[in-house]
Amino acid sequence: MNLLALIGRVVLDFLAHLGRLTIFAGTAISHCFRPPIYGRLIVKQFIDIGFYSLPVVGLTAIFSGMVLALQSYTGFARFSAESAIANVVVISLTRELGPVLAGLMVAGRIGASMAAEIGTMRVTEQIDALTTLSTNPFKFLVVPRLIAGLLMLPVLVLIADIIGVAGGYVVGVYKLGFNPATYINNTYDAMEALDVISGLVKAAAFGFIIALMGCYNGYHSKGGAQGVGAATTNAVVSSSIAILIVNYVITEMFFGT
């Protein structure tokens, strides 16, 4: 009986959480289309999310591309299919690794910082202060982050795709001895517009999820430093899990049979 009660409580808590998240997302989206819009804050978030995430996303992409080339060679050499390495690198990166790895890295970097910043503002009454100063906290805090997440992640992923393919090229040409022109030709031939587009659609969805989870968990944090810590952890964990689930759903939409 106690076990049933426990399961019931967990399910009810989860549903209540989901309901609150849906209302939060609906309110935030509706504020995206109603003035005032804080352009300066949106640009600041573009820089925070887009520009300052470049090093971490770039490093992740280049080493992923390099290791992909190296591992594919180990496997394909057994079947004398080494020429498929360029195809594997470009398809894997544009369809999957680019958006997912960039999404997870940005979730750790940006999702955590959003939750910590907004959570601290919540527990120190700064969000209440915004309301008393005729400033809607959704418009001021949430909308700029959502818009920047939605638009900046695709840009980051596009850059990650290019850097990742370059990483594969470096290993393919300088370590595995491929002809540079052949490698580039193979890459070009294997690249499909749909692969890149599906990756960018995923990136936009991931950017929205990261910003939404960061803002939601920060906005609802309570109880001082411990509450802010919990909000930060929840933001990273929930956005990472959501990214992996949504990744499957979008892949199914684009490539499902």
Binding site: R34, Q126, D128, T132, S134, K139
Partner: protein, 258 residues
């Protein structure tokens, strides 16, 4: 129309889960009057102010400002109503990402998006002078200021937009007695003497006597005593007596949980 109270509360109730925090608050505050609500920690004083400001929604009852119901307002109407308000938060609640002058000018720029930075800065410095702070403070970060200075900046931010009503949430909590008196004097000079309506909550009786025209005591979600500030020491209400004299023995039982 001068008879219309500046703030009018009727049957205001608010519960969090099963805990009834406010259970039927009736209170009228006239224009230019300063009312102080006293009560122990966790009795719902802050909740009362937050319901008027629209930060929390009361479950039942009506809240009117200048005779207009201000409950369940949509976003832009709430912003317009809150333009009449100023609020000094207990911990200051200064935006730590902005320098002092931008904190003070925040409300001005939110209400007039065309206000230039230079004009806003000049107005902020002018308001800082009213609370005894000079121009050098303007470019400091809030974290560089002492608790008393942060309260002064918070007060400057509250009065910068020339509000009709100012709310004070525990204005002297955490300050030494001298700084507490400085803040009380500033509240009297910048709000009370200017005819601005004020609603304060505090458990500092010295502060309540100094800044209040009337005092109301909140206990178990109800206002159990309302009267002139001068009568607070002489009333025979046992709850008020116990609170005013800070006695452990009496009808008020301290709550362990909020």
């Amino acid at each position: 129309m001068t008879d219309v109270p500046k703030i009018s509360l009727r049957g205001v109730a608010k519960a969090f889960g099963e805990k009834q925090v406010l259970s039927g608050i009736d209170l009228d505050i006239a224009a230019g009057e300063s009312v102080v609500v006293i009560g122990g920690s966790g009795t719902g004083k802050s909740v009362l102010i937050k319901c008027i400001l629209g930060i929390l929604e009361a479950d039942t009852g009506t809240i009117a400002v200048d005779g207009q119901n201000v409950m369940h307002l949509e976003s832009n109407a709430r912003d317009a109503t809150n333009a009449k308000f100023g609020m000094l938060f207990q911990g200051g609640a200064l935006f730590d990402s902005l320098p002092v002058w931008e904190n003070v000018a925040f409300g001005l720029r939110a209400r007039d998006r065309h206000l230039s930075r230079d004009t806003a800065r000049a107005q902020a410095i002018e308001t800082l002078a009213k609370v005894g702070l000079d121009e050098q403070v303007a470019d400091l970060a809030p974290s560089e200021l002492s608790g008393g200075m942060q309260k002064r900046v918070g007060l400057a931010r509250a009065i910068a937009g020339r509000p009709e009503i100012v709310f004070f949430d525990e204005p002297t909590t955490g300050l030494d007695p001298i700084m507490s008196d400085v803040i009380n004097d500033l509240i009297v000079s910048t709000v009370k003497k200017k005819g601005i309506t004020a609603l304060s909550i505090t458990h500092d009786m010295q502060s309540a006597r100094k800044i209040g025209d009337r005092i109301a005591m909140l206990y178990e979600g109800k206002l159990i005593w309302v009267g002139p500030a001068a009568d607070v020491d002489s009333t025979e209400n046992p709850y008020v007596q116990q609170f005013v004299h800070g006695r452990a023995e009496g009808p008020i039982k301290m709550q362990v949980r909020r």
